[in-house]
Symmetry: C2
């Protein structure tokens, strides 16, 4: 019996695995995890969502434009009945995966690779986006219902809920996807990552790489620490600013040992509070950590 | 916002998802599930194992010979530190996936398809195996440590633990993989499925399709009902016949309401009893059910 060396996972495999590890981290107050689910949003739907993303991720790793690869991944994610399982995480992951692609493109779907993801390479992917990526981003909203706020009246034509029908308005303004994200950075945690060089994502990756024990436990710790550090913008969208502030404060109480994560999880589930943006950032961090050699 | 129809998952996606749903079913006495794991065999390693199988499954769906596709899937599965997570399930799944392939082959990896799996089609795949498939099957043992019994002395040259080095002995005897499985059918539950037209696999699929509620709950029920119906051959290999008989009897006690599944799970975990073959058959049943339209 020989001890055969195995080639590393591809970026697309790592990205799918990041989604699976993220949802398996427990406790993760307010979100679906392997011990908590909602009747209409189940753990198994996150599994199916993750499986469905891979084809889009493979295209991202091959150097396909970010918008189109993102739309592909979202279409695949949507082939389950839970609705929006991982839209934000996929939006965060796509440029990170794109950052691993060879400059020459990689027609076989990323099986050969020489680059690992860095903030600089991810920023280069963001900076290279065009208005076509913005159109594809809008089209992705046709695959799944995503909770979003109403835009200001003068931007009604750019409501993402128009999907691909917003194309004329998008082209008229000529915004690249990177520029669109920049405009949302103050109100959307994922857009802020796109705009600022993915600081929280890489912070989570460092936390995961420095830790030990089961990765899903490290992911749960990283989640709680991110939740205590920044307001979750998805909670603002679904509820309001004061709820988001309460969530952040309660996470700080857990870190200080004055409340348990399990109590907090039970309360958030009861109240339908889902800090989804924080979970998305943990998924991004898991991908970066796997890409940098985190062993499962 | 339009309601966009999504193409169905490919057979390879369904097979990976089957592995993920199987390990997520709980309680599943004695096996790793989303609430139980061993320090050296974790839930997250089953996730990584499942992600790693997909490329081999894609080749199986494209009509690649079963042995080679199986070896590919096992090599991918082995890229995690838990060791043998899903060897038996992959062995069961590969001919079932192959049964979905078009006769003409399908170079794009199964994205287009017209056939769903039936016992007859799976049997045709088994009957078409050659000695090359047997050699590839042996080579798969080089990727991972699999618990097996010592063969009888006169068959020492055919010990699977020789891996690809057994090739001359294999070729001398000229056994196809289907014929090899037939020889093991009386002592190995997966080989019995290969030999008898996959009866338990399709029985589980019917159970899953007839049920309602979360699929992982249905998978847990199917596991218990299979455990009560047949001795688990992996338990015989790891322990002995009397332990396997006890496992079956205890599962019957649970079905009769005289013991809870959770108590049984705790006891089996304490004693290192892992009815792995039964779990493999549930994974096969999940694939067939997904292929036949089970909605997640």
């Amino acid at each position: 019996m020989t001890d055969t060396a195995h080639p590393p996972r591809t970026p697309a495999e790592n990205a799918e695995l990041a989604l699976l590890l993220e949802v398996s981290g427990t406790p993760k107050p307010g979100n679906v995890d392997r011990e908590r689910e909602y009747p209409d949003l189940r753990f198994e739907q996150f599994l199916a969502g993750a499986v469905g993303t891979r084809d889009g991720f493979r295209h991202a790793a091959s150097g396909e434009p970010v918008g189109r690869a993102f739309e592909r991944a979202v279409a695949g994610m949507s082939r389950q009945r839970g609705g929006n399982t991982q839209f934000g995480a996929v939006l965060l992951l796509t440029p990170l995966i794109g950052a691993t692609a060879h400059d020459t493109g990689n027609a076989d779907g990323g099986n050969q690779r020489a680059r690992s993801v860095t903030p600089q390479r991810a920023q280069t992917v963001v900076d290279a986006t065009t208005v076509d990526d913005t159109v594809a981003f809008y089209t992705a909203f046709e695959h799944v219902d995503v909770a979003v706020d109403d835009p200001p009246e003068e931007l009604e034509a750019l409501d993402v809920r128009h999907g691909g029908a917003a194309e004329p308005a998008i082209r008229e303004r000529g915004l690249s996807l990177g520029e669109l994200m920049e405009k949302s950075a103050s109100v959307d945690g994922i857009a802020a990552e796109w705009t600022d060089g993915f600081p929280r994502t890489f912070e989570v990756a460092d936390h995961l790489l420095d830790g030990d024990g089961p990765i899903t436990d490290r992911a749960s710790e990283a989640f709680l620490s991110q939740l205590a550090a920044s307001v979750d913008t998805f909670v603002i969208t679904q509820h309001d600013q004061s709820t988001a502030t309460e969530v952040k404060n309660r996470a700080q109480e857990v870190l200080a040992g004055r409340e348990t994560a399990r109590e907090l999880a039970a309360d958030f589930v009861d109240r339908g509070i889902n800090p989804g943006t924080t979970a998305d950032i943990v998924a991004g961090g898991l991908f970066v950590a796997l890409d940098r050699g985190l062993e499962v």
